[in-house]
Symmetry: C2
Amino acid sequence: MSITARLEGALAAALEAVDGAGRPPRLSAAMAHAVFPGGARVRPRLTLAVARACGCDDLELSLGAAVSIELLHCASLVHDDLPCFDDAPLRRGRPSVHRAYGERLAVLCGDALIVLAFQALGAAAARSPQRLAPLLARIASGVGMPMGIVAGQAWECEPQVVLRDYQRAKTGALFAAATAAGALSAGADATPWLALGEALGEAYQVADDIRDVAASPQLLGKPVGRDRALGRPNMAQELGLDGAIALFTRQIRHALDAIPACPGAADLRSLVLLEAERLLPEMEPPLEHAARVA
Amino acid sequence: MSITARLEGALAAALEAVDGAGRPPRLSAAMAHAVFPGGARVRPRLTLAVARACGCDDLELSLGAAVSIELLHCASLVHDDLPCFDDAPLRRGRPSVHRAYGERLAVLCGDALIVLAFQALGAAAARSPQRLAPLLARIASGVGMPMGIVAGQAWECEPQVVLRDYQRAKTGALFAAATAAGALSAGADATPWLALGEALGEAYQVADDIRDVAASPQLLGKPVGRDRALGRPNMAQELGLDGAIALFTRQIRHALDAIPACPGAADLRSLVLLEAERLLPEMEPPLEHAARVA
């Protein structure tokens, strides 16, 4: 079975596990709407790729960690789209959860997905119970306080923004958690894998900023120009398009450099380059260069 | 040190653990506002009382479970108070989190408290790692889908309400998780403790309905008459005040009957009776009767 099929199956199983008798049906439907059909599933695929590179010996736990990371990502999108934040009408080319199910169910859907992320992680730890506490801590640090994605979002509510903390927390933290969780789920040390996650997270943040300025809403499946409209920091506005593209290329190079020597290094390099091309298709020539020098 | 002091200390320590460099300061402040000063801390005290009755051999883990339960309760209050739900201006006699910090920080505060609940639980499991997965599953089931407090809140968004599922999930689930978590944190079987939590949860829901109809906002520290204003089911409206009070007394009696035979039974009985009197002071005579017959 392909990794994609396994991952979608594990996500579906996590939702089914809490879809029993007694549940409020519209909340169930809102949760499924938030998770399926998904985006590129980059973070959980990264978790699984790192787990494989570390000699994955408990696929159930690695899948549980990947599912947990993806559910937290989906939860953050649902809450980011709320009227009090972006008030986004679209997500992945469809109505956002609050447009489809109302604001109250969108708040509860995000809450329930956060809880489900930890339920799925715990349920997957039967064979390796001693790995659960460090995994839980690492995944939670990617989403909570002081420097996870919720903290990153909260910087938008501060009178003075520490830009570096904002950027890192907003995207980098969950990517770093994704690589670290892959290693921990395989019983390996997480430390050597953090830099890869952080570099990829920073590249994603810049790519997101570039697309918010330069892409079309049809291409993105969500509105563009939101950062300027909402007065949020955006690297492509700050550095200019060329400057932001140069920064993106540099960060992808950092990500490639950060892959530790391991049997799975070549696969991980391919994954990073494929993602980079998917993020900014026009970047192909500089990325080929990055691949050569890396 | 008293249980109250230990519990407040453990809650403060959980918040301090994520209050490090790099955190957005207003989100930190909002989280502290949501947790301190607290209410009666009934759920976590119940967790600790059951842990003691089960021969608590890992106080750190029992405190971690109690803290986790209380943080989830605080998170649910912050989200319940949001403009799209109750739009409550007051909570515990002070401005609600969204009135004090704005709606966006209130959403993020609830999210961060949910994550912190699982962080605190994981961090407390160092000495008993094999107890973490069942504790995590039980606590999460009290708050998530299909029948936790988030599901209970979601019944308010359904076109047709299954009243029994709504009442149980809205309050009973987290009480049942509180007693079960106390047992699990002490390495004991959770099953004999669920009925006590469920009965107490049902009693709390009815007491809340009675006070929503009959109390003054000064006494409650929050607005009254909200159920009628928001078109929500309320037992005191459905059964009349006398009927609801009789139901409350019956449920307290069920709770007393549900306490398993154990060395801590007398202490637990006192805790239940004290809580009942605190909830509905005018109920003293029937409760004394309940205590005699129990």
